[in-house]
């Protein structure tokens, strides 16, 4: 005997979806952190420098986190993004030095293509050799960083080597929003829309949920995987160009450790490490949360040395939460199946 329940109204459903969404939770956490820091020290948010920095500094991580999220959704991981970023940042500087008068747009394009090529190497090895991406990208992370150091030697790119207009990109704002942030947000919007609405995007989720089923279903798994890794590399390349604009000085260590920040941002943002779920908006908020915590800690009286520990706790918490939610979901599905039976 089935009980009849009144169907939920469309609005109620939407509201419930938004409220229980993982992204909302993290957004809330971000707002709380910003509020706590601002209460302690109003210039955190309300000085023009403070506001600009809060928006600006995480933008680079945001780009890398988006690419990383796309790869994680397919049940892979790309640990080489930090090295790709460093290599591209150095390339950017060298382009300006060795090719005087090169248009800035060309530098951007070359950087993105270069990053994409490095991503292609990763993707080809993963897709064709069928080796777990963890191991492949571990190796390429080493190798790319080594190439970076070999190329750079003990040199470094100085800010005086690059045109002022390029460097201005790193600090200018349009209507109070830094240019770098605008670039990052545009990329985010385009990528998120693509992932949600285009077939190729949704297939990435399918591949991550169950690669074998996706294969049997006839999805072009190899092509999609290649695409995901190329996108990740290209975004890391773009981030490298922006890094050069922001910091002005590039040595061979640029971007070290970024890959773990990117994975952390994605995981905290709700992208399941096991693939198949999560959104890019979550990864973006995760990136902002990570950096904001870093800035907020000293203001709240905690030495910023503890930031990494906080990140670790957040990652573990996020994964545990994911697991609990997945278990609850599975239990509810089983109940629904049993009650309808």
């Amino acid at each position: 005997m089935t009980t009849v329940t009144a169907p939920e109204s469309r609005i109620a459903r939407t509201v419930r979806a938004i409220v229980t969404a993982r992204e909302t939770g993290i957004l809330l956490a971000l707002i709380i952190v910003v509020l706590a820091a601002t209460i302690k020290n109003p210039t955190f948010l309300f000085s023009s420098d403070g506001f600009r920095d809060l928006l600006l500094t995480p933008s680079i991580l945001l780009l890398v986190a988006i690419g990383q999220a796309v790869v994680i959704i397919t049940r892979n991981v790309d640990l080489s993004v930090g090295s790709t970023l460093g290599l591209t940042a150095y390339l950017t500087g060298r382009l300006f030095i060795d090719v005087p008068g090169i248009p800035i747009v060309a530098v951007f394009l070359i950087g993105i293509v270069f990053g994409g090529l490095l991503g292609l190497i990763n993707g080809a090895l993963v897709a064709f050799a069928k080796v777990p991406s963890l191991v492949i990208t571990l190796g390429t992370m080493y190798a790319f960083r080594g190439i970076n150091v070999l190329w750079a030697g003990s040199d470094r790119i100085n800010s005086s080597d690059m045109p002022k207009d390029f460097l201005a990109l790193g600090t200018q704002s349009v209507l109070f929003i830094p240019v770098l942030t605008i670039i990052a947000i545009v990329v985010l919007v385009v990528a998120a829309w693509f992932l949600r609405n285009k077939r190729a995007g949704r297939e990435l989720y399918a591949i991550g949920s169950d690669p074998d089923a996706a294969n049997l279903y006839g999805l072009k798994v190899t092509n999609r995987l290649l695409g995901a890794f190329i996108l990740c590399g290209a975004l890391a390349g773009l981030a490298g160009v922006l890094w050069a604009a922001r910091y002005g000085t590039v040595n061979s260590q640029a971007g070290t450790g970024f890959e773990l920040q990117a994975v952390g941002a994605a995981v905290i943002g709700g992208v399941a490490i096991f693939g198949g779920s999560g959104s890019l908006w979550g990864a973006a908020i995760g990136a902002y949360l990570l950096f904001t915590i870093n800035r907020a800690l000293p203001i709240l009286g905690v030495q910023d040395f503890w930031q990494r520990a906080v990140v670790g706790v957040l990652i573990i918490g996020a994964i545990v939460l994911d697991r609990l939610l997945a278990q609850r979901q599975a239990r509810k599905l089983v109940e629904a199946r049993d009650s309808n039976g």
């Binding site: 020290n41 500094t57 750079a152 000085t249 040595n251 260590q253």
Partner: protein, 345 residues
């Protein structure tokens, strides 16, 4: 599974046996090679080992050293870790000891952690000269000091107090937390402040690790945390350059004063547009030059590092070893808008 286990066991035993054989071969290898303790080996190869590579200050000092080494006909080389950590330098000291170079010219990341490795190198006949940042005196042959530590500390305190009107909050942006010279100068600065500048408050010392990006971000964090900060002192060329770059594009330009130790080439932009008024340094090229000649004198056996020894240092003239086997280069020099165009390093 059977065969796998059996094969694995045999493989394990065979592997261990082979490894032992290889190691035994390594032991029995000929005891050839140069370098016995005591007298200098006479080989004029001098290798520079700065705190880390990719640092303009050390590039310049190496250039000076190279000039000296070419003058006296030796072989020059520079190696170093990518980041300024003590254990990074130990591996390089070990390698150089193995290679049996004539002398190592070293800027130490820590006063005591390197001692064992350095002494092992010295036992192998390698002379060790420290410059810029010293180790403890019993684990090096000579220390080339750029200037008296008190003088370096005082000049930076004088500069900042002049620039902020002798009152207000300041912070220090240092390099790595263990660097001997940084800690010595910071301690002396604190003493000087307490003694002669009661109205200046030192709120915090942050460490940029001599990494440009870290120093940049730490400066931003400092300004965000202490909105009424009046001045920043950065006794490291990497730190002051990064801080200046941040200040140049921030709302604090001109309102927060910045001084410290910087190289003219890196700071020229900032002095010309008013971000920085004045800063100090010595000539790192001369420092490297002097250190190289000191190394040569040790290798040749001309001096042993005892107080009163004199040696010839090419174009810089003759120098005498002072107490604690230390050689003093000179005094720090102040750079500002009037004279910065005259220098190229």
């Amino acid at each position: 599974m059977f065969g796998n286990t059996r094969k694995a066991r045999i493989g394990a035993i065979a592997g261990l046996a082979l490894s032992v054989a290889l190691v035994a071969t390594g032991c029995a290898a000929t005891d050839g090679g140069s370098g016995d303790g005591g007298e200098g080996s006479g080989e004029l190869s001098v290798t520079f080992l700065p705190k880390n590579l990719g640092n303009a200050y050390f590039d310049t000092s190496y250039d000076g050293g190279k000039e000296a080494i070419e003058e006296f006909g030796g072989t020059a080389a520079e190696v170093g870790p990518a980041t300024g950590s003590p254990d990074g330098q130990v591996s390089y000291i070990n390698t150089l000891a193995q290679q049996g170079v004539g002398a190592i010219v070293l800027s130490a990341n820590d006063p005591t952690a390197l001692c064992d490795a350095v002494n092992e190198a010295r036992d192998n006949g390698v002379k060790v000269v420290t410059f810029d940042a010293d180790t403890s005196p019993d684990c090096r042959d000579l220390f080339i000091n750029q200037a008296e530590a008190e003088g370096i500390a005082k000049i930076q305190v004088d500069l900042i107090s002049e620039q902020i009107g002798d009152a207000g909050k300041i912070a220090i942006l240092s390099a790595t937390a263990n660097a001997t010279n940084q800690n010595a100068w910071i301690e002396l600065m604190e003493t000087e402040l307490a003694a002669n500048h009661p109205n200046i408050e030192l709120v915090e010392v942050v460490y940029g690790d001599d990494d440009d990006q870290t120093s940049f971000d730490k400066t931003a964090a400092l300004l965000q945390t202490y909105p009424d900060l009046k001045g920043i002192v950065s006794p490291t060329t990497v730190g002051i350059a990064a801080a200046a770059r941040y200040l140049q594009t921030s709302e604090f330009k001109g309102k927060v004063q910045l001084t410290g130790l910087g190289t003219p080439n890196q700071m020229r932009d900032f002095v010309e547009d008013g971000t920085v008024t004045a800063f100090a340094l010595w000539n790192p090229s001369d420092l490297g030059y002097l250190a190289a000649f000191a190394a040569k004198a040790l290798i040749d056996g001309d001096i042993t590092g005892a107080e009163g020894d004199t040696f010839d240092a090419g174009k810089l003239g003759s120098y005498t070893v002072g107490a604690d086997a230390t050689v003093l280069l000179g005094d720090p020099y102040v750079f500002n808008a009037e004279n910065i165009a005259d220098f190229d390093f």
